[in-house]
Symmetry: D2
Subunit: 257 residues, 4 copies
């Protein structure tokens, strides 16, 4: 096996409350400290570090911390490795990143955007814990403020409904104002199978990240933003602008031999 | 008044079954023929012609024929006038042009796309006539085939429901297939006020077309495609690609004095 | 085999345009006339007649004519046989018969009720033929006028969407007026599997009709109205009032030995 | 003014954690105790008590405690006064009490029932406080267990979304199992104006309670159950069975002179 890409597909970990230093030099000594003192990094970041130290590229498909801290990007760059994240954009958030730019482009003032998500797989059970849910909700919610000229009131809920199994159902209610302040409404329901939506993205990401590595790219791959709810190395949240970045990258690749 | 822009905002006329010659020279003689022989052009095209002959630019905000025939574009160009159309993209079709490229980009195979529209204004009453409806349904439906790699089964209905007045409600049901052929569903409802959605587009179009005329642009203005269900002079149907054309045009304009 | 119950589960036949005499005596001679003269009864009624003549009870689970004509009820009674129909109430219409009485009870004035049905099984393909569809739409639509104090504007569509297979999806939009004329809206989507919803009703009907026959009941069994969109022998269309009739009948039955 | 009916239309108070004795004799002495010791009754019950002591009938249109405790019913009866409650059933819960009996009657096994409510009036702002919300959610949720043979997993949320004002929007997702365990789904959205839905119920309740008082009825009026989410004096939660109780009462009234 010549090259490995490690992908974090574990369920979401709770938000990390500790401060993570900006340089690896400031973290490294604490990695060996006794267990009762505690780790300077959350579990997902320790795995990311292990990946880089093993010479593997890394993809964070979850909202966990992973390789997001600057210190971990530093390690990746030192080892000449690329990485990408965070949190695969498979359903409701994908739609937000597609629809919000339309409202903005048409000067329709979004007053509130409510999204309720119900599903019943293991991921759902873990997100039912408020600590785990907090990181996910933030990742699903923050992009609207970046995409709309005036941040709307937003609400995101995620509830574990056992009977639904892997079938995520999202209901979004978008309340917006048009010409002369007239209020109007768009609602959508998305009935998708989370694993089925995620699997091809994971496969594509692995192939793209590995190709980037062969190109000599290292650190955060911002041009993979279209795959993520909280893209690293890229502030653009609109799906089609993100997609254009991916298409540009692809266009620059030499034809496969 | 220095410059006039004529906008067709009448209700949809039935599809024109006659053949319209490609040159104005072949049409002109027939314009004066007796009434019982009939007009070589539908009413909307006669109005477009009258606009051009009066030195006015022209915008067709309806699916009627208007200035779409090549012979009318020829007249516009001879007079140095720009025109744009057809059929303002205000609601359900706007969403189709935003969402369909997302399904394509994510390789989600849309198997069927059903759109039901109900509303109760005068426009709705006129569209309740099957002859008038035919032109509208075609204009609302055709873009999916252009936006998706495999044309899905589509169905569009428009029904006059008096109690709704100017409040158009659309329900769209999108049935698509993901990884391993797994079927999934997206549904949306759009509750919009048609006149309120149309009015600012009309104002913007008048200002943009008039500016283009001052620039010396003539004939079909393809870069206005984002405003229309059936754009003239442009084959692109994806909203954000159309929008990029508009933004490029705007970026090229000199700062207003 | 001691007793047989024949159930019509065929796809809907087109509405029968001929007049069917009220007595069997007026029909019988025409049954043997040459084929080119044509039958005095539609196919579904010939089958019902054959059932009665074979000593079988009969259930019409479709909107076809079946045993609805008075002349066929006469035959059933002469043979001491019960029958029931028409058109199994499995999904969207069941909801109409549950919800409309609520609007009436609360004095909420239903202005319009639109129901769009899409599905892709053989039944759907046959209903896609306008002739077959006509009978079905009437059966799905007429009850609202009977359940609401003021008949609303109604619209029912049934479309064959191949990808949905046996999964019927209905979207209903109910526009109603409350206190001081304030307009409000209820929408529902029903995603049901038609065969799965119908099967247990058919089994129950067979057992109930057979039990009624053993009781000596004959002719139309009006107390089975809760099972049907267009009940025979019963003008009540409200589901819970129909259900009370069934429950009364059950309560009168002696305990099984 | 001969007779008064007091109606509690205040926003929901937090659940009362204290134990309320079953007899008024055990409560009365504590009513005059110093403020720092605290009241033996929540505010809503003090108002109900004041109503009874002033000779007024009482209606609790909220989920607050009001006249629900046995000790307050005792006071009402001693004074010969009727009362009714709790919590007006205007929208989403009305639909639950209409639809759940249908699922039960058709032997469709409801696995989960999720209801999300968003609105932006003062009531919504107060319910946004978790303490106040707790009482309301319980009142909206508990009836499903009473109406379905097997209590489903349920979830009710109420969120304050300012832009909606008095327009309550509820989205309910009902996941049920039919024949052979086949899972199916019903979803509804209810877009109602809360005050407009409540007002006529309040007027009817006042007139009905006053009429009952003239009849000499006292204590809890169980036959008014159809108006309430948590009816006093009645364990029936199905809307149409509740309605039949009201209709029976009306039928027994002598014609007005």
């Amino acid at each position: 096996m010549d090259r490995v890409v490690v992908v974090n597909l574990a369920s979401t970990e709770p938000p990390w409350n500790g401060t993570i230093p900006d340089t690896f030099a400031a973290i490294e000594p604490a990695l060996d400290q006794p267990a009762d003192v505690g780790s300077p990094l959350p579990a997902s970041s320790l795995y990311a570090l292990a990946a880089f130290e093993s010479g593997a590229a890394y993809i964070n498909f979850t909202p966990s911390t992973g390789a997001s801290p600057r210190a971990l990007d530093e390690v990746a760059r030192q080892r000449g490795l690329p990485h990408a994240g965070c949190d695969g954009k498979t359903g409701e958030t994908l739609l937000k990143s597609v629809l919000a730019p339309m409202f903005a482009a048409r000067n329709l003032d979004v007053m509130s955007w409510v999204g309720h998500n119900i599903f019943g797989n293991l991921d759902g059970r873990i997100l039912d814990d408020p600590a785990n849910k907090a990181a996910k909700v933030k990742s699903k919610d923050h992009l609207l403020g970046a995409l709309l000229p005036k941040p709307p009131q937003t609400h995101v809920s995620i509830e574990y409904i056992e009977s639904l199994g892997d079938w995520k159902t999202a209901w979004d209610h978008i309340h917006f104002r048009g010409f002369l302040g007239t209020p109007m409404t768009m609602q959508f329901t998305w009935q998708g199978c989370d694993s089925i939506l995620a699997a091809p993205l994971v496969i594509d990401l692995v192939r793209l990240v590995d190709r980037a590595r062969q190109n000599g790219e290292q650190g955060q791959l911002g041009w993979l933003a279209s795959f993520f709810k909280s893209p690293l190395g890229c502030t653009e949240q609109g799906f089609f602008r993100q997609l254009a970045m991916l298409e540009s990258w692809v266009a620059e690749q030499p034809a496969s031999s």
